[in-house]
Symmetry: D2
Subunit: 308 residues, 4 copies
């Protein structure tokens, strides 16, 4: 089996290999210049902050269907331990085991490969158990702060959430941008809201993952045309699942991460942000979504915050 011609044609159009040099490891994050961040800070009006991460706990959203992507096992190592003798100040410490992509996370560019390659044409074999990702590990995405824009596709359509078989198209993104009254600019981080996370929040973890609305294979070209820096949404798989084209699995991942070099975020909780933006009638804000710098990580938990 190989990837169909349709995929390769899109791939050619969105490919960014070499655009920022042969040594580049961060792709479209290069579009976030100091100037972009300065302008992003200027979007802050009220100082209201909205946190976008799911709680980290054993009872998380993973169901066991993705091998090894385990919910956080968070345990106490010591509780009120009087380290220096009875009656002294006591400390409590904890530890965790978790899949780096188990909850609200960024995929590193190296999360996906196809045809033996990762972003910028490097061999996929440069990911090893010992080094993890030698190139484009999540630690290379040193700071992710920019203007965030919420494209609230569900709200723009007057829906609570999109149906499970809805592929979010470029036209949907245009519609949501028009609804928001904004223009997506180079260096923006785009948050696409489907409303699907409500299914998980209501307790149906299996229903959350499948079937699920998500991005269409046609959207990478839209992101490329707008020079978007990164994209996140409120679904498990990011792209529509099951996929639009039979037997073409994870094409959006391959186009965004490998061809374009654009980070993706998943399982972001955009519900409160949707309300806040609607109340403020503004859909642009300063977004800080710093990766935990796991050396060679192919993903990372992230606790994003929108500052309106």
């Amino acid at each position: 089996m190989s990837l169909p011609a349709e995929f390769h044609e899109i791939a050619k159009r969105v490919n960014n290999w070499g655009r920022w040099g042969q040594e580049d490891e961060i792709g479209t994050l290069n579009l976030i210049t100091d100037e972009v961040v300065k302008d992003a800070a200027a979007t802050v009006r009220s100082g209201r902050r909205v946190a976008l991460a799911l709680p980290l706990q054993q009872d998380g959203i993973q169901t066991g269907m993705i091998p090894g992507r385990v919910n956080p096992l968070h345990t106490m190592v010591q509780i009120n331990q009087e380290l220096f003798g009875p009656g002294t100040v006591a400390t409590s410490d904890d530890a965790v085991t978790m899949g780096l992509q188990a909850a609200t996370h960024w995929d590193a560019l190296t999360h996906v490969s196809h045809s033996g390659k990762i972003y910028n044409g490097r061999p996929a074999g440069t990911i090893t158990p010992h080094t993890r990702a030698r190139y484009s590990g999540i630690d290379k995405a040193e700071h992710i702060v920019s203007r965030g824009v919420l494209l609230d596709v569900a709200r723009a359509k007057g829906l609570d959430r999109l149906p499970g078989d809805h592929a979010v198209t470029p036209e949907d993104l245009d519609e949501a941008a028009a609804f928001a009254g904004l223009t997506v600019k180079p260096g923006d981080i785009v948050l696409v809201r489907t409303g699907q996370l409500q299914v998980a929040l209501a307790g149906d973890k299996h229903g959350y993952g499948y079937p699920s609305p998500g991005l269409s294979v046609r959207t990478p070209e839209w992101f490329h045309a707008h020079d978007v820096a990164a994209v996140a949404n409120d679904t498990l798989t990011f792209e529509i699942f099951p996929p639009e084209i039979e037997n073409l699995w994870l094409p959006v991942h391959a186009l965004d991460l490998v061809e374009m070099g654009m980070l993706q975020g998943q399982n972001w909780n955009l519900e409160n942000l949707s309300t806040a933006c609607a109340e403020a009638r503004r859909y642009a804000f300063l977004l800080s979504a710093m990766p935990e710098p796991f050396v060679g990580g192919t993903g990372t938990p992230v606790a994003p915050v929108a500052i309106l």
Copy 2:
């Protein structure tokens, strides 16, 4: 053994129990109002970002001396796995085990108790293995974004780093604020630079921890007087170690976390920030330092970013 009278006198003066109501779980984070954040965003001039977290890796700063505070064991769960058959898009996933306070971190208010109490007078016994911290867990500190100010004590004194027996005093903080040409305001997050992290960065992990400069038992009153929202620095223990007063261990922890209800950060890398502030001749900036929302966590890794 019990805590000395001197401790209890300071405790009375900085105590914030009940100040934000009996139900309060976040202490001085209450001082970060929308207005404070709005003003903080207005401090951004250049858009330059400086990341403050140490890399997360097995070869981290922990030496094994603090039981259970283990360096990140970061392993690949799958590498270039063609989940949907040969020739399809391939994915890589990873997982981690780590102490939540192993690297750059926030202590939750519940990290420390004394005399059987945690912040706001609740029983220390509300921390259990099953619930972890029922009150004031790190997940309650929902968003930590404010004006950050760097009090570069080492640079203000013309030193690369403070000697190992230097207790940073209120006078040192005043001196550094004067050097920075700023006034610390309510809701600020104060970053105190000693330069001690250089020892760890040079490879001497044991020397980093002991002996180490750090905050004096006299500083909590200074933070209280200035209504600071949170404090972080570039040392392992936060306060001077070994302590100033014989057999009075971790008094600053007890005063800051338990009495005042003020979060502390440790192992923050302030080296690049020191350079950036010196170059910009400005020591105030927008700081985003979002906790990972571990439910009931007594600490969290954090990837702070200063936006100048």
Copy 3:
């Protein structure tokens, strides 16, 4: 709510506190003398070995219903790593995170407490996050080797497996002993086969746990009367689940572990052993079921072997 009078009456009859002294931490394992082991070795006829542990893997028997009892997350730390340079001998290493009671395991005596006490009348509060079990941790059960006897209750009744609502009674145990043609002796380790593990082996993890046949609240007296050293079976909960007496949860655990001081084993795969014993027409053998010596552990994975 408190435990009913019926429970306390049985408790009195099976209680072994003080029987081996106030300092004792291993309970009925004291019954395994050198003489018992010598005789056990003499039961070996053919040298045939039957392993009784389930495979350890992410796709294990845990369903997430017991908080924190996580299936093994087994990851490679390095693969064919040429540690000493290209062309040298290469090594592979792996690591695991797992609940100690996740698969085939022994409960330590401290796995259960009731009315604030563990075995031998010690306070339950001696189990702490820092020390784990100070007394009667699984590391104290230094060597578990004895005569094993299979009481194949299902086979004795001519059934593949017992129905889900079948409480195994003392009469059932007598029947199985008669079927086996043996007398249970002091120091024996008794393996009780219900056949229930077949449900898990067929892929129905939820059905394996509930409803499940298991030991009746009346069996501890039988074990006590026979001076059995330890008991294991092929179910998730060991005792019948849901329980025989409304709102009396885990009474067999409380009687065996706390009152009698007798170790319990769960999730033992007795299917091949059942066949081997039937073929050999002998139901007694040498059993080695050594605990991994987790210091202060309240349980341990175990890889038991029957030598026929």
Copy 4:
């Protein structure tokens, strides 16, 4: 760099590829027949049991020098949790993260490869992050029970322990066998005592690992000639470290595991066994050393027991 001619010559002489068929995954464990085990059981005289595993705890023997081989992080998941309501029977559960080769362990045959091959000529590339070891994983070594013989090299020489630069030779093994008054037979599991573990038990973890006595590159031929089933000893590296021949690292591993297909055990505590054998004046016993069946594991913790 490639392995020297000397290595390849020995390799040819001890190679067992194909000896038990192309499908074989367990190598010299094939030598442990039912007959061998039956005879082994007959060696039991007193019923005395000696456990050979080190305690599993955070303060274990690993020093951080072998990446990812982490000491057990053993944490409580719940303590005296009244799962079914106040006053009910309470349970305690724990979990662990550890390197499978961190303490007393077996190396699986797949722990080592050289020249791109593992045992029986299979490609080293069959070990992957997803499958771990597809062939010869430790789960394939289903039951390891046989006659154990202690070759107490240190005691035979009248030493407490061998010096750090002592390579145990075939002549040393013959000497120890003569001292023990026994002949090593096909299917035996040979335990070689150097006394080196005393260094670790005395608290010097670094000194334990380096320099360390261990097996000479000449011993694999001796094991091959005697048709030994498996070998374990009381050192960190198994073979003498640093090695006898400059730049020839881990040759014994490569010969034993890859060429011969013979399992190796390390960090076995043979101190009590040495005493027990000397007291009994017998150095042969029944040994049970069952691997935990980690699917595709390249090693496993083991809790061996000698039954005298």
